[in-house]
């Protein structure tokens, strides 16, 4: 028996995680030093930020080691890399803003990067908190409806007069006591928990096939209820909050989960058709959606007006070329919202196609690890939750990077872990904590879990 136990305990892969984490931090420091060298800024606060972020990442690793010893070793280092590269780029754009303010003789704005470092701390503290508090992801299934209601409340909170306010035409923000937050980011996670809990009990019914058409089995019409409700809900987000990105993201997560839960391609087909109907209707009815589509199809038609942002972004990519201009050598600050929505184009300009490919590969690896955790998990709820959270991250990245590179219409979401913005960073760290928790359950040796199950039954 001890032989078996010993064999089970060999590969927790925690040291691999630590090594990768140190590598990620060194990469971040390297980027930061290059930015400082190129923009000749002072580094006092910079070193405090870097060392602080290193310390908190080590603490996060310690918590993973202690509470989820079998967790996937790649998830944490991969997101840490993205976060640290994001910090370096925000620092670089701060320097550009400061230089411009000096040239214009205006007041130098406070560097945003320190706020982002603070948010990274909050995000990682919550990451550790989730790992400690949620000791079994199956517990979340009990909160299926609670998190559904909370998610909807979060999503529509910005509509409340008094606390909600509008930024650039979209009502995504709330402000409480001078503290601003984008509750939609948290809603994404809460709704994924709800979808997973809901679909896990309905999946057999929803998988029933009534008729066959072109070789694909179609479900019964009366089972389409949940999908139609979700569709109307996504349209409501679009109409009331004018938020194309969140609406698309939430509907996308639901379709992915519906497909994984039932294994029926027909749901994807029906969902895509509904999406198209919604898109055409939104195009016909709303001015802001029409502008987005027109800018996407013909950005150069109004290059100094509505198309300015996307045109500058494309120029940035072109300027970067294959190998980029190098940290601090390009002009990413010319793109409006370079720190948030357009950070990908800033990285594309300074690191080039070669660097941006590496970054996108990092996302692909995160998605692969999430999907693997989902496949390997033994309980159906964990299965759906893992793939839902992974889809949330992957779809969000696709929607925003696709928008910035003019592959799809621009929708305005944050790039997970890279963009400047506290709500997004914090929410995504919580999301990764849940994925790590599920991967721990998936990878822990068999006897652990069945023993746990038995003790639950006996209790």
């Amino acid at each position: 028996m001890s032989e078996v136990l010993r064999k089970y305990t060999v590969s927790t892969r925690r040291s691999a995680e630590l090594a990768l984490l140190i590598g990620a931090w060194l990469l971040g420091v390297f980027a930061w030093i290059l930015v400082d060298a190129a923009t000749s800024t002072t580094t006092a606060g910079g070193w405090v930020s870097l060392i602080g972020s290193g310390v908190i990442l080590l603490m996060a690793h310690g918590v993973v080691r202690r509470y989820t010893p079998y967790a996937d070793p790649i998830l944490l280092p991969a997101v840490a890399t993205l976060n640290l590269l994001g910090l370096a780029m925000i620092h670089r754009l701060d320097a550009a803003n400061a230089a411009r303010a000096l040239a214009n003789g205006t007041k130098v704005p406070t560097p945003d990067v320190y706020f982002q470092v603070a948010w990274m701390f909050i995000g990682l503290i919550l990451f550790m908190g989730v790992l400690i508090v949620v000791n079994d992801h199956r517990r979340l299934q009990r909160f299926t409806y609670t998190s559904g209601v909370l998610g909807i409340v979060m999503l529509f909170l910005p509509l409340l007069p008094g606390i909600g306010y509008e930024v650039n035409g979209a009502k995504l923000w709330i402000s409480v006591a001078g503290f601003t937050f984008q509750p939609g980011e948290l809603a994404k996670i809460l709704l994924t928990v709800f979808f997973a809990g809901f679909l896990v009990t309905r999946r057999h019914t929803l998988a029933l096939v009534q008729s066959k058409f072109l070789g694909v089995g179609f479900p019964r019409i009366k089972d389409a209820g949940p999908l139609v409700v979700m569709w109307l809900f996504a349209l409501m987000v679009l109409v009331l909050e004018r938020d194309l990105g969140t609406s698309l993201l939430i509907f996308g997560i639901f379709i992915v989960l519906l497909y994984v839960a039932t294994g029926r391609r027909s749901w994807v087909i029906i969902g895509s058709l509904l999406l198209m109907v919604g898109a055409v209707a939104a195009y016909k009815m709303f001015g802001h959606v029409r502008i987005r589509f027109d800018v996407w199809l013909h950005p150069f038609a109004d290059a100094q007006g509505t198309g300015f942002q996307i045109v500058q972004s494309l120029y940035g990519f072109a300027n970067g070329g294959l190998f980029g201009t190098g940290w601090g050598q390009g002009y990413p600050q010319l793109v409006p919202f370079a720190k948030t929505d357009f950070i990908t184009s800033a990285l594309g300009e300074e690191l080039g196609l070669v660097g941006l490919t590496a970054i996108l590969l990092m996302y692909a690896i995160i998605v692969e690890r999430g999907a693997r955790a989902s496949v390997a998990t033994r309980d159906p709820f964990g299965n759906l939750l893992a793939i839902g959270l992974t889809a949330a991250l992957g779809l969000q990245t696709f929607i925003v990077v696709g928008g910035v590179t003019k592959l799809i219409p621009l929708t305005g979401l944050t790039t997970p872990f890279l963009s400047y913005g506290g709500s997004s960073l914090v929410a995504n760290y919580i999301l990764i904590a849940l994925l790590i928790r599920i991967s721990n359950a998936a990878r822990s040796p068999e006897h652990d879990q069945s023993a746990e199950l038995v003790s639950e039954v006996n209790a």
């Binding site: 078996v4 064999k7 089970y8 060999v10 590969s11 892969r13 691999a16 090594a19 990768l20 590598g23 990620a24 990469l27 390297f30 980027a31 290059l34 060298a37 190129a38 070793p73 790649i74 280092p77 991969a78 890399t81 199956r138 299934q141 009990r142 009990t201 309905r202 999946r203 057999h204 019914t205 029933l208 190998f323 980029g324 201009t325 190098g326 940290w327 050598q329 690191l351 080039g352 070669v354 660097g355 590496a358 970054i359 590969l361 990092m362 690896i365 690890r369 390997a376 033994r378 159906p380 709820f381 998936a442 990878r443 822990s444 040796p445 068999e446 006897h447 069945s450 199950l453 039954v457």
Partner: protein, 156 residues
């Protein structure tokens, strides 16, 4: 900084970035090649095939579900390695003609040497002995699974 140094650092960073990505891929690959024992792998082994590796649990998997109460009393449902569905639907594995049973009532899924009962959102609930099943729960041999007016037990 001179142009030469600038180029060196510009390309140097990209090399470092890709080196890091390749390190991640290396960890990923080693993970894929890890010995099977360290991997969660739990298709239920039937008692016929002796387990090729030592397991901690010596109890053998149950091989059948016996209906002990209700109109189908005495029926034996053989259990394999795939999940079964109990319900009123014609395509359920165990079809129960009972108004208290939902179309897709409950599922029984193999997990290692256990069978795990899960309620599929039924109207009247699934019970093991006297407690209602609210989350996936192991059904032990000797316990009675109750669905509507039917009771059933695992036998090996």
């Amino acid at each position: 900084m001179s142009d030469f140094l600038l180029t060196v650092f510009r390309l140097g960073f990209l090399v470092a970035l890709w080196w890091f990505v390749l390190r991640i891929v290396a960890v990923l690959r080693r993970d894929l090649q890890a010995p099977r024992d360290a991997k969660p792998l739990t298709p239920a082994r039937t008692s016929k095939a002796p387990s090729p590796r030592p397991t901690l649990r010596t109890r053998k998997a149950s091989t059948s579900l016996v209906i002990t109460e209700g109109t189908l009393e005495g029926t034996v449902v053989p259990l394999g390695t795939t999940p079964i569905i109990i319900g009123r639907a014609a395509d359920a594995t165990v079809v129960l003609e009972d108004d208290f049973v939902s179309t897709q009532h409950a599922s029984l899924t193999p997990n290692g040497n256990h069978w795990v009962v899960e309620d599929l959102g039924s109207t009247n609930g699934t019970y093991i002995d006297r407690s209602r099943v609210t989350k996936p729960t192991v059904l032990h041999p000797g316990s009675t699974l109750r669905i509507g007016r039917t009771g059933m037990e695992l036998r090996s």
